[in-house]
Amino acid sequence: MDETPELSLKASPEQLLYARILEKGMFIGLICLLVTFAIYTFGIMKPYVSLDRVSCCWAMNVTDYLHQENIKSGWAWLGMLKYGDFINFIGIAILAGVSIFCYLAIVPVLIKNKDRIYVVLALLEAIVLSIAASGLIAVGH
């Protein structure tokens, strides 16, 4: 079996597409994170947990922290975007979520190439990451 004729020094189309989306997502997420952090720390938007209080919270475990500050876990932060601290989650969510879009974007390319196994693997990965992102998996101390 000789696979060499199929090989190229250049990355495959689906790999390049994945890279382009990942790059854009990374830049958007990072810029978003820096801007929202500046808004938060310069006090342009009032935080839910004041900056002075945060340093009293980070030494306790997450369950106690959420309970003491009355913060709901999961995607509840979407309903708290009027606060300076919670807007930072937009950038973090973009950084953590961009891979899902990368996987979904390469599926049509893989289908076009009749690469059935990788279509299934890419869809499975997108499902796994979406389940993780959904917050359906709840654990605690």
Binding site: L9, Y18, A19, L30, N61, I92, L124, L129
Partner: protein
């Protein structure tokens, strides 16, 4: 020049060992008032993660593996938040490097996809276990793991071009092979892998550990891809880095949804590590990597022992 670098390394070592614990009056695990201004710890975090980023590059390790043991050992943050932040630190490093490595065809998407599916699924399980177990159990396990990583770093050999006489059936069916040009010699190198089932099984363990401790898993990815599966070192390192962007994503979501993300910790850490990595890449040309690698191993070992003692309540 070598003396200058040794001073840098020693300075970092001394800072971590003596300055941080002296400042961290608050023992992790209990909520007590911190007398410092709100910006104090984020600023220290920015400085330490910047230095960490420099040494991560020079020492050939990922930011996450340095971040979790050092920050949890010497800073007043609870391990829950350190692990959440550690995953985001490792994730951001992978996101920054991933696109370039994919475009250069050094990271292989075909190799990464099946591996990532297993590792990311197991990382979710690891994160769930890590968040469900008592903190002291995690501290002890983290300490043991970090010491194990030190042993691995000291003993694991690397093979630039492993000998793969024949690709196994699974990797052939998945068409996991490729070609790349060695930059230093211009040589075109065909590569293929073997022992794929064994390699995939090992990624179950790697995924669980990455999720449980919030460590990036480059320290384990590279030996498995390179020594077990037989991918060339460059392909292994690049694919491992890209792989973290997927493995750590799944675990990061679990930690984020649980509430283990405090922006005042995350943003300075991300910025510090990223800026430090940029400086580290420039210093790589003139630095003495062997000495720095030894120092990184020494710091990690110390942080591992510290985590063990902390977990045991000593």
């Amino acid at each position: 020049m070598e003396k200058k670098h040794r001073l840098w390394v020693s300075g970092f070592f001394l800072f971590v060992l003596f300055v941080s614990p002296a400042l961290a009056e608050t023992p992790a695990g209990g909520a007590t008032a911190d007398s410092h201004a709100w910006w104090f710890w984020p600023m220290i975090l920015l400085i330490v993660t910047f230095i960490m980023g420099v040494f991560a590059v020079l020492g050939g390790v990922g930011g996450g593996v340095l971040f979790v043991p050092i920050i949890s050992g010497f800073f007043p943050f609870h391990l829950d938040f350190v692990r959440g932040t550690g995953l985001l630190v490792a994730l951001s490093g992978a996101l920054a490097a991933g696109p370039g490595l994919l475009k250069m065809n050094l990271a292989s998407l075909r190799l990464a996809i099946p591996v990532a599916l297993i590792a990311s699924t197991c990382a979710i399980f690891g994160a769930m276990v890590g968040l469900a177990l008592p903190t002291n159990v995690i501290q002890i396990s983290l300490g043991g793991t970090i010491i194990g990583i030190c042993v691995l770093m000291l003993t694991a050999k690397k093979s630039v071009l492993p000998d793969v006489p024949q690709a196994d059936r699974l990797s052939t069916a998945l068409r996991i092979y490729g070609v790349y040009q060695e930059g230093s010699t211009g040589q075109i190198i065909d590569w293929k892998i073997h022992r794929t089932p064994l390699g995939l099984c090992l990624f179950i363990i790697i995924g669980v550990m990455a999720g449980m401790f919030g460590l990036g898993a480059g320290w384990a990815n590279v030996p498995v891809l390179n020594l077990v599966m037989g991918a060339p070192l460059k392909i292994s390192v690049a694919t491992s880095k890209f792989l973290l962007s997927i493995t750590d994503t799944s675990a990061a979501w679990v930690y984020m949804n649980k509430g283990c993300v405090i922006p005042l910790m995350v943003v300075p850490s991300l910025v510090g590590i990223m800026l430090g990595s940029l400086v580290g890449v420039h210093l790589l040309k003139i630095a003495k990597p062997t000495f720095i690698r030894w120092m990184v191993i020494a710091i990690l070992a110390f942080a591992g022992v510290k985590a063990l003692l902390k977990g045991l309540g000593i």
